[in-house]
């Protein structure tokens, strides 16, 4: 949709607080709270887009990036409100399986290598995969999804084809918020929570999206994988203190050399064939 949302991490933070409240008051498992947090975030996203971002897109201003700065303001407000409500204490949802893991050597005594698989990480991974797959299906196979992609590609053309661009924007932003909301629920068992947590994850989200290619679901996965591998490499060979430098270097490099992201390379390669 070409809307840059620097409050993305803060939205995730909101979802994590929802999961936290559900867990601590009603003992609802964080994974199950997706069912509540995602729709709630969808609603929040819709409201934000409808009453704040869409109006700004229409306002004529000298700086076209007003919309980006607006989301900074939204992020500030969300984080500060969270501080006021929940104080700045660190919260966690201490689920039983938080430190469970499966070990290869437990099943196979003489295994030559020690392999381990963390349970919450694996569950989060699988759920994330399911969500991504359904998103991909939704965007490519359904009418609504096609309208969204049309709007993203060419707003004016979509308008001419009878797509309600504004509604699509609102819906998409809601969808994006719901997704990041689910991510928050998947994340809370392996991480922790405090009001200012958002910022760093907004940045990581951008790195991944740009790496993979804006507007590409598969690209996001590829981008995530590349970033993961690259970060491990910098951490191993240059030291973990340098990992953020690696992360943002590859980001800037991608912005400049592969502006369409990795997926555009694939397309080119296919075309070339």
């Amino acid at each position: 949709m070409k809307i840059i949302n620097l409050a993305h991490g803060e939205l995730m933070m909101v979802a994590m607080y929802i999961a936290y409240v559900l867990f601590s008051s009603f003992h609802i498992d964080p994974y199950l709270s997706i069912l509540i947090a995602a729709p709630a975030l969808f609603g929040l996203g819709v409201l934000l887009q409808k009453y704040l971002i869409n109006p700004v897109l229409k306002v004529e201003a000298i700086i076209p990036e007003n919309q980006v700065i607006l989301t900074v303001g939204i992020g500030m407000v969300l984080a500060n409100i969270a501080t006021i409500i929940f104080s700045s204490d660190y919260k966690t949802t201490p689920v039983e399986y938080a430190t469970k893991a499966w070990y290869l050597s437990d099943y196979w005594r003489e295994s030559p290598i020690e392999l381990s698989l963390s349970m919450p990480w694996s569950v989060s991974f699988c759920v994330a995969l399911v969500i991504t797959a359904s998103l991909w299906f939704f965007l490519t196979k359904t009418d609504m999804g096609k309208s969204i992609r049309a709007t993203a590609q060419d707003k004016d053309a979509a308008l001419l084809m009878g797509v309600n661009v504004e509604r699509m924007r609102v819906f998409t932003f809601g969808l994006g918020s719901a997704l990041v909301g689910s991510a928050g629920c998947l994340f809370i068992p392996i991480y922790y929570l405090y009001p200012d947590l958002g910022g760093q994850f907004t940045l990581i989200a951008f790195v991944i999206t740009i790496l993979g290619g804006l507007g590409s679901t598969v690209g996001a996965i590829v981008g995530g994988l590349i970033l993961g591998v690259f970060e491990s490499l910098t951490a191993t060979y240059a030291g973990m203190g340098w990992a953020p430098v690696g992360r943002f270097m590859i980001f800037v490099a991608a912005l400049i050399f592969v502006p369409g992201g990795i997926m555009s390379l694939f397309k080119k390669w296919k075309l070339g064939k």
């Binding site: 070409k2 704040l52 201003a61 000298i62 007003n66 500030m76 500060n80 800037v252």
Partner: protein, 312 residues
Amino acid sequence: MRKALPLIIAGLLAVLPLLGLSSYWMHILILVIMWSVIGMAWNLLGGYCGQVSFGHAAFFGVGAYTAGILYNKAHLSAWWGMPLSIVFVTIVALIIGYICLRLRGPFFALGTLAIGVILRVTAENLTGITEGDLGIMLQERTWIDKTWYFYIVLALAVVTFIAVKMIIESKLGYYFVAIREDQDAAESLGINTTLYKTVALSLSAVFTGLAGAFYMNYMGYIDPKIVFALHDISIVTIMVVMVGGVATYWGPFVGAIIMVFLAEIIRTIPKLGAAHHTFFGILLIVIIIFLPNGITGDVQKLKKFLRIGKAA
């Protein structure tokens, strides 16, 4: 009257220390003026040339570290950082410009944001040069009294103001605005957009860096998380200009007054104090929606708005 306004304001500011203001108010004034300088610098690039940078902390930090490293390694007075920061900041600006200025619009914003973070982490890791996270502390600041700091930063502000005004009213200014309005059109009118964007970036960076070098001298302590801060420097810079007025001479000054002075007042209101981020977040949102060019940028709208309020 209009022409004399800068003189009057500079004059008024210049006699302020003679009134025997407490050192607390002097501190606030110094911060207001320092932020005006940074705001004016950002405005040159963002407001006039249309390149929205989310990484001005990079230049602020390099300026501050130039002063800090000179003091720490070369055992010179940190004041040498002011002239020398011009050189270093320009070099950094040229490199950043070479990398980021080929990006357009929001991608430039994201690119500069990333560079800001890269510089911070680099400063944290190059412990041999920057002392890393331990930061650099001046054993003794030059003066205890704030009057001289005030005049130095005021002089810096006046120079910046005049420079910005001269630039904007010259060929450069026309070119900057042309680039902001339409990069393709500007290019086809014979404007070397890459060159002039780099010029805008470098000029903006130099003034920001000077403010950074001043900060080192004034505050006496820096570390990477302070001077390369994404939120506390880069984003506050944008807010100063957005709130005060985009592409106006006085906007950054008004913005700095609001962001420093008003922040100070609101922060100290009991109970509500902790919510000052909410206040500024909402202020920013309201301004972007209703006065998208800031308070001085949309004076007409503001006047209309206030008049309606009175009538009702």
